[in-house]
């Protein structure tokens, strides 16, 4: 990176830490540390909700996915607005008026201590590991693309976030989230502007969209009902609805955001902000990926975006690599010419022929890229290899102007840090309120709880960094963590459905229903090929059904 870009990244890190520390001065009691004295305005809570949800891997993964697979991913968010409305009617007023610190504390009020402890324990387990993955994923990508030391990147992201979260609590987390969201949106908007203004002469934005559309990259809606297909309108509207209900309604990292709002109404508005903005924002991210695709129609792309892995494979099989590289370059050249012909052709009949030629050339190019990916997989013995997460960072580093590179790298760091901070804060809150105050030191003073809250933030921060160092080497660990999260999410939602909507539900029903739900998802995942989003539906329905039946029987 150029010194100008380095300066932007360093100024960003210094500002975020300084700002976070500055806000720590007023934090003197537990309600201030964990809930900001319920004093945050709705718009800041709303931005914090969005920043928490968007991790760095969401940012770079979404753009990479649009490059590779088009805009289909946007369907994933179609269920979000309805989920937000349901939560505004149910969870927000119930949690807020119950005066709880954690979502799981509410379960003790409704059921018993054992249900609270079990749900909180599962949250700590899944999120404690998950936060390590949130740090590891961008650290791996940035270390390969920018040549940064992986371990140093992990500890810079992890410990700087831990520092301001530990000292400033939720106040620092929320207000830094606001700034980080501004950086992310500014960086991506500028990126879109630069790509559009730098399209080749004679290629308009409309032409760019036409070539992307002809290649199938702009397909936003898939009406087919296929449980094995990850992104369809049905999985987005039904399965993702359950996921979002669980994430925003039962996951402490999000519940804690809206508990800091000034009132129930402001908590509701903060969630509705996401309902309005999430799909358009996701469209912006995907549009970046589409524009990167168009950019590489007219200038030579790398055959594989993860240079480290392709270099390793090339060292083992140099002749095969050279052959693939040559064929890939030819395929790109043919696609380039076909795209130009398609854009230039005005005659309707000729245009149809040019379109067919471009689609065929694009298919041939994609085949070469798939062949190259397979080559890396087989040569390196890594069957899960994919370079999707490297597309956007590589594009930025190699093609964006000075200054914007620094801003985008800062945006990637901001996306990681905002999610990590919220998770650490939520982990510390659950540890303090659901375990320390509830089981270890029942008569603890404000001072003791505050001290424990800060200490647990530090411990979870260090733990996350350690997990991250392992996660970078063990690809399967990331899978295990994500799979474990999906086992738990739907079932947890089921417990809250029992609490909110089933008056006859009893504590035994909630407790054993949760266990039944988790087991059912495990069975579904081992015996079927259904897409992971549907696990949330399975877990929730089984938990509610089992919980209801057990409540009636006992």
């Amino acid at each position: 990176m150029h010194p100008v870009d380095w300066s932007i990244v360093i100024v960003y890190l210094a500002y975020v830490i300084w700002h976070g520390l500055k806000l720590s001065r007023g934090t003197t009691d537990t309600e201030g540390f964990f809930l900001a004295g319920r004093s945050i305005p709705w718009w800041a809570v709303g931005l914090s909700v969005m920043a928490t949800q968007m991790s760095a891997i969401t940012l770079i993964g979404t753009t990479g996915q649009a490059y590779e697979d088009g805009m289909r991913f946007i369907q994933f968010y179609f269920g979000l607005p309805l989920a937000m409305i349901i939560l505004c009617v149910t969870a927000v007023p119930l949690f807020y008026r119950a005066r709880v610190f954690t979502a799981y504390e509410y379960l003790e009020q409704r059921f018993d201590a054992k249900t609270r402890t079990l749900t909180s324990f599962f949250f700590l387990l899944s999120r404690g590991l998950g936060v390590g993955v949130i740090i590891a994923a961008p650290a791996v990508v940035l270390s390969i693309v920018l040549g940064w030391n992986e371990l140093v990147t992990i500890f810079v992201i992890g410990l700087s976030t831990t520092l301001y979260t530990m000292l400033g609590g939720v106040q620092s987390v929320t207000w830094t989230d606001v700034k980080q969201m501004v950086i992310i949106l500014a960086g991506l908007s500028l990126c879109v502007f630069v790509i559009i203004t730098n399209l080749p002469a004679g290629v308009s934005f409309s032409d760019a969209m036409n070539v992307a559309g002809a290649a199938g990259k702009l397909q936003t809606i898939d009406f087919s009902f296929d449980l094995n297909e990850r992104y369809t309108i049905w999985s987005g509207m039904i399965a993702a609805l359950f996921l979002f209900l669980s994430y925003f309604g039962c996951d402490q990292s999000q519940v804690q955001r809206y508990l800091t709002a000034r009132s129930v109404d402001e908590g509701r508005i903060s969630l509705l902000m996401s309902a309005f903005l999430k799909i358009p924002m996701q469209f912006l991210f995907l549009l970046v990926g589409i524009l990167v695709f168009v950019f590489y129609l007219f200038s030579a792309p790398p055959m594989i975006f993860n240079e480290e892995d392709v270099t390793r494979a090339a060292a083992v099989q140099p002749i095969e690599h050279e052959r693939l590289q040559g064929e890939f370059a030819d395929a790109h050249q043919l696609r380039h010419l076909a795209a130009l012909r398609f854009i230039d052709e005005q005659d309707t009949t000729e245009r149809i022929t040019a379109r067919a030629g471009y689609i065929a050339a694009n298919e041939a190019y994609q085949d070469k890229r798939r062949e190259a990916t397979e080559f890396v997989r087989q040569t390196n013995g890594d069957s899960s290899f994919s370079d999707v997460n490297y597309v956007f960072p590589v594009f930025v580093i190699e093609n964006m102007p000075r200054g914007l590179v620094g801003l985008i790298v800062a945006a990637i760091l901001a996306a990681a840090m905002s999610s990590v901070a919220a998770e650490l804060n939520a982990l510390a809150t659950a540890s303090t309120m659901d375990f320390y105050r509830r089981h270890i030191n029942v008569n603890s003073s404000e001072k003791q709880m505050l001290r424990f809250g800060r200490l647990s933030t530090l411990v979870w921060g260090v733990f996350a960094c350690i997990v991250a160092t392992f996660a970078t080497n063990l690809g399967s660990l990331i899978e295990v963590v994500n799979t474990f999260g999906s086992f738990f999410y739907g079932s947890l939602l089921g417990v809250f459905v029992l609490a909110f909507a089933v008056p006859r539900a009893k504590s035994a029903g909630a407790f054993y229903g949760l266990l039944f739900g988790i087991v059912s998802v495990w069975i579904a995942s081992s015996t079927t090929d259904i897409a992971f989003l549907w696990f949330n539906v399975v877990g929730c329905l089984v938990t509610v059904a089992a919980g209801y039946l057990i409540s009636i029987v006992r």
Binding site: D29, E31, G32, L35, G37, R38, S39, M71, I74, F78, P81, L82, M84, I85, C88, V89, P93, R97, R99, S206, M209, N210, V211, A212, G213, A214, A215, L218, Q219, T220, I221, R262, S263, V264, D265, R268, L272, A275, F276, I279, P280, F283, F342, R355
Partner: protein
């Protein structure tokens, strides 16, 4: 519990905001966005 939070808890919570209309407008907005996305993809199908 701090004084600050106590004050907040006594604020009027609901009643003045027409939530049903707001929820309906969120859903209508979502439907419009989905239709626009579909139209966008059809328009630029090449």
């Amino acid at each position: 519990m701090s004084e600050n939070s106590k004050d907040n808890s006594e604020k009027p919570q609901s009643g003045s905001i027409p939530w049903a209309y707001i929820y309906a407008s969120v859903l209508i907005f979502t439907v419009i966005v989905v239709v626009l996305l579909y139209t966008f993809s059809q328009f630029y199908s090449g």
